[in-house]
Symmetry: C2
Subunit: 368 residues, 2 copies
């Protein structure tokens, strides 16, 4: 199956057009002696909605205006245009930059003043998101990148920057998932599903047990909360290869939230949920029910106050209102314990790979 | 160049023998009605020395005794033997386990009592180190593993668990460095040196600039403090392929300490410095001198109190007593600033790859 190349020249040109349009609009306003301004989407919690039908967090349609002649806005206005200009340069030159490099590239003292363009990266980061939202482009499409994290292994052949990589032939090491995966071109996949795993140690266990070979799946380790590159990769694997996504995390509010971010997106990046979230994802474990089913009481851990507080927060989120999740979270609060993926080792090292996962997945014993 | 396989059956058998000897000694003591005991190396700071000649942190020769019939020792004695028994099982079966899985495998209530073998992983972790020191084996050789972190890319062909991996053909992604690298078998390397890079973002920059291809080097990203697997890999690449190691970190006390751990080992793992440290490593930057040389004053950052405190700590360490390092640390304190790798982007995105690194390395402008 030959997939089209995602980080295409075509998309680069679309992004450049969007950036040029933004500049032209402002330039026209100046020519007409109108006050230069930008229309931006509000990004506060008040403008984030849960789209129940799509099972995705979405940004609402509340807008605000950033105006150059408003003294409270003019610094941000200038900074936003600097970022837009620099991004256009990156895309045009086929370069990518970290958001920290962008900050260093733009930081300078404005000629004839003692004013710096930027004092701190905390000034530029939110403006990048403003640009993403306003132009309807991903950060990665502006050729800007966040930190990378995560590993992939399994029966997938992909092309990355001219190299063809067989991800089933990477020993026990696996492919490091970069911060930008738009350049990946999926050549061939022979897998029944994608297994997304919270901890690096559990990923290692399953690699050692050859789980991906015996169960014909592609395994992705998020190593804690999934980075953008990892979430985008799962989204692309699901949508382009039509593979189901199954998530396997610790049985605690933090693990459940990792699942919800892979599935429904995150509040901070609600404007990109459709490209970073995979709403069809299912959850295999660890569930609170597993504790009884598999006799794991002796290897649970007591909830701390911070865990209990987090359970109550999750119970408020609209995307945790499904009855299965309310049941699990209530059961967790009632039992007062959490359970880790690695606690399955108390049965045997092989238990997770030979019994727990294949039996639950075969039986379709998955949460929505 | 064909290297011998490191995680060999032979080494496994040596480790099993050492574990069996430990058990036999104790079993003999019991048969003779002597009190069962173990002789252990002390691991406190008082027993850590800096070996100036080898440029490595070393464990001294102070010993202590753990005795089963001493009520203050008997719990730890029992736990140490449980860990030894389980490790022997792992090595014999060709399995590896995370230190968390080991904890879960051993945790149970002792029959006829209400006493658990282990209450918390903080009980088992230090005893693993006791076993490593006592038996003179690496944790990885006991088939136990810590967390993994780090990425490799460059002109190196290695064999990992039956797969031959060409690390120059992994696109912009690279190989994820696992927690255990003993199984790596280096087949062929065509490189002049190994460049060890602190941040993932700088690694990405150099990959994008094809630095490793243009400068014929193997690049390793530590992503902050180097994990054990990453340190062991650098040690093996240096010793087996005879390649120089050059470290590139942020110009702050934290970056300098990352360098010192790659070079001289760490206090917590002083007993393994010869297998985890690479004393011949050199340091390319960022130095405080770079700030003047390259005109980077405007992209430095003010030191915080915690940075200043850390500078004073480094100035006390015997392995920072070389005059070049005392100069850099004093200059940092005097200037009151730190400088990041990514601040080089203020010159141009390409500056680090096209001028800074090649010029400094070519000129041999490296710190010891």
């Amino acid at each position: 199956m030959k997939q089209k190349k995602s980080l295409s020249k075509k998309r680069d040109n679309e992004v450049i057009s969007a950036l040029v349009n933004l500049g032209n609009t402002i330039s026209d306003e100046i020519d007409r002696h109108d006050p230069p301004k930008m229309r931006l989407s509000q990004r506060g919690l008040a403008n984030i909605k849960f789209d129940e039908e799509a099972n995705l967090l979405r940004l609402g349609d509340k807008k605000s205006t950033r105006s150059f002649l408003n003294v409270a806005h003019s610094r941000k206005f200038m900074q936003t245009l600097l970022i837009a200009t620099k991004s256009k340069e990156f895309v045009s030159r086929g370069k990518t930059a970290s958001i920290r490099e962008l900050y260093y590239q733009l930081k300078h003292t404005i000629a004839g003043t003692k004013e710096n363009t930027l004092e701190d990266q905390s000034e530029s980061d939110p403006l990048i998101v403003d640009l993403e939202v306003t132009l309807g482009v991903l950060r990665e499409e502006l050729h800007l990148k966040a930190d990378d994290k995560g590993t992939l292994i399994g029966n997938l052949i992909l092309e990355d920057s001219g190299d063809t990589i067989n991800c089933a032939k990477l020993g026990r090491s696996g492919l490091a998932i970069p911060s930008i995966v738009e350049q990946y071109n999926f050549i061939e996949a022979n897998a029944d599903y994608i297994l997304v795993i919270e901890t690096g140690a559990m990923f290692d266990r399953l690699v050692e047990e050859k789980y991906h070979l015996k169960n014909n799946c592609i395994m992705v380790s998020t190593k804690g909360q999934a980075a953008r590159g990892c979430r985008r990769l799962v989204n692309r694997l699901h949508n382009e290869l039509k593979l189901p996504v199954i998530v396997f995390s610790d049985g605690d509010p933090w693990g459940y939230y990792i699942y919800s971010v892979v599935k429904a997106g995150s509040m901070a990046l609600a404007h990109e949920s459709h490209r970073l979230g995979t709403p069809e994802s299912k959850f295999v474990g660890m569930t609170m029910t597993d504790i009884d089913t598999y006799g794991l009481e002796s290897v649970t851990e007591q909830l701390k106050d911070v865990d209990k507080k987090r359970i109550n927060e999750l119970l408020q989120y609209p995307w945790f209102q499904k009855k299965e999740w309310k049941e699990q979270l209530s059961l967790m609060a009632k039992k007062g314990v959490r359970i880790e993926q690695q606690a399955l080792a108390s049965k045997s090292l092989e238990f997770v790979a030979e019994e727990y996962l294949p039996e639950k997945i075969e039986a379709g014993d998955l949460l929505p």
